[in-house]
């Protein structure tokens, strides 16, 4: 179990949070204009990196708000959490 920093509530136990997948995926503005492969790309295909990952989280058992995080998928270390709409931070060297 890890400690996660909610941008609004501060450090809380992982149990209070829900992981919500890869961050910064933008729903295509005009889905009908996409072909099947592009739509599949949006729905199912993911970076799944080994290293720094940008992901969406939600503080479900707290303030209920969504935020983004930069987390390392080998060490599970969180480098930063940031509010929706904010630019993503650069991964630590």
């Amino acid at each position: 179990m890890v400690l996660i920093h909610c941008p609004w509530c501060g450090d809380r136990a992982e149990l209070e949070f829900r992981h919500c997948g890869e961050a910064h995926l933008v729903r295509p503005a005009d889905p009908a204009a996409l072909d099947d492969a592009q739509w599949a790309e949006y729905l199912a295909f993911r970076d799944n990196p080994r290293g720094w990952a940008r992901e969406r989280w939600r503080h479900v058992h707290g303030c209920g708000r969504f935020f983004n995080a930069l987390r390392h998928t080998l060490t599970d270390r969180f480098a930063a959490t940031y509010k929706p709409g904010e630019a993503w931070p650069e991964p630590p060297a």
Partner: protein, 417 residues
């Protein structure tokens, strides 16, 4: 290497077991070129190589493994084998595997300790019961055995089960009698030994670090920690690492990799006659031939390559096990570990061709691919050899995510195995 027989066992017993040699060849260095290279020396990769060598004329074959064979999920799983999946495509695939399991020790001349002791899936609520009954009907139509037991019959089949407790009431269960367990390491070793005897090179400590493509776009060579290898065809069977390996060829995958954990108790005398799974409370249990209780837990909520999971996942599972089987409350747990499983959004595997000519992929088995090992290797070998999907593999193509023909076992079963 000579075969195993009762005569040899007797002879070795009299000679102090001094006559056993290595069971497969593991050359330090790969050849400069192969017709087919399998990336990943887990059960699925080794089975693929074995069936390629046995049933198809494809020339020189190698299996490249970055660590030791069977050291991935093959050696980390809870070995539950069953085929009572909902959809006809899945039932065909997994039952093909169960049929191969039934004769596998003879086929490989290696005891994989397949033990069809029955897999009982518990229903704890009305939804479970309706869903399992639907599975039972669908399976029977597909020719796969599965039967509904009421709560008393569940207890008769598995006496340690407490059906009177209030926390997780047992309404009944779905039982597949042909299901069971096998010895995970022996599966990797048995396939390695049989493949090696047919001329397959098994190269350990050989990590693939790059995939090159020629002017025609087809794969033509691999960069590895043991040098460059020219290749005709490549089969990627790298489980949790599939996204990373496929990225080397410029192919993105519809996968996410999660840690899945298991644990074993101190060994005790035989107390547990079958396999019991409870999807709703997330606990799976059987007893190994060594006497350990083998307990499977859930996945962590976030993707990770750490091969370790959160301790809260384990304690949740143990709480459930202690409710269902109060006699285990004082058991001590000896070891726990994690493996990295690659999951698709429909919880069905991907077996087949890729957009890159000569590159094939077998992945996405998620939390439940051990049971499929022989069938997966068998249909994937045919797919690679003919460069077209084996009929059983065809529905599991990568392009189902674009066509929308998903095989949604995720919705059908809600979870694991």
């Amino acid at each position: 290497m000579s075969g195993f027989s009762a005569f040899r066992l007797l002879r070795e017993a009299l000679r102090g077991q001094s006559g056993w040699g290595p069971q497969w060849r593991s050359p330090e260095q790969p050849q400069p070129a192969y017709d087919v290279v399998i990336i990943g020396g887990g059960g699925h990769g080794l089975a693929t190589a074995y069936y390629l060598a046995k049933e198809h004329r494809v020339g020189r074959i190698a299996v490249l493994e970055k660590g030791w064979i069977g050291g991935g999920n093959t050696g980390r799983n809870t070995t539950i084998i069953r085929s009572n999946y909902l959809f006809p495509e899945s039932a065909a695939l997994y039952d093909h595997a169960v049929q191969l399991w039934e004769g596998l020790s003879q086929e490989l001349n290696y005891n994989v300790m397949f033990s069809p002791r029955g897999v009982l899936m518990l229903a704890h609520n009305v939804h479970d019961e309706q869903s399992f009954r639907r599975h039972v009907h669908a399976n029977r139509l597909a020719g796969v055995d599965n039967e509904w037991l009421d709560a008393e019959a569940c207890r008769a089949f598995c006496p340690p089960l407490d059906i009177a407790q209030q926390r997780y009431p047992v309404l009944g269960g779905a039982l597949q009698r042909r299901g069971g367990v096998a010895r995970h390491d022996a599966v990797a070793w048995g396939y390695a030994r049989a493949a090696s005897a047919l001329g397959v090179d098994i190269i350990q400590n050989c990590e693939v670090t790059g995939i090159s493509r020629g002017a025609d776009g087809a794969v033509n060579s691999l960069a590895t920690t043991k040098g460059e290898i020219r290749v005709g065809k490549v089969g990627v069977v790298a489980a949790g690492s599939t996204s990373l390996v496929m990225a080397m060829a410029g192919v993105r995958m519809p996968l996410e990799s999660f840690p899945l954990q298991a644990l074993v108790s101190e060994p005790v005398k035989p107390v547990f006659p079958c396999v019991v799974m409870s999807n709703t409370v997330h606990a799976y249990i059987s007893q190994s031939d060594k006497g350990e209780l083998v307990i499977g837990a859930g996945t962590d909520q976030y993707p990770s390559y750490s091969q370790a999971g959160g301790v809260q996942i384990l304690s949740h599972t143990l709480e459930a096990i202690c409710e269902l089987f109060p006699m285990f409350r004082r058991m001590r747990m000896l070891r726990s570990w994690g493996g990295i499983v690659d999951t698709t959004s429909d919880r069905s595997p991907i077996i087949g061709l890729t957009p890159v000519p000569g590159l094939f992929v077998n992945c996405g088995w998620g939390t439940g691919g051990f049971k499929a090992t022989p069938g997966s290797g068998h249909v994937f070998a045919a797919t690679i050899a003919r460069a077209e999907p084996h009929p059983i593999a065809a529905p599991f193509s990568l392009d189902r995510f674009a066509t929308g023909r998903l095989i949604d076992e995720a919705a059908a079963a809600a979870v694991a195995h």
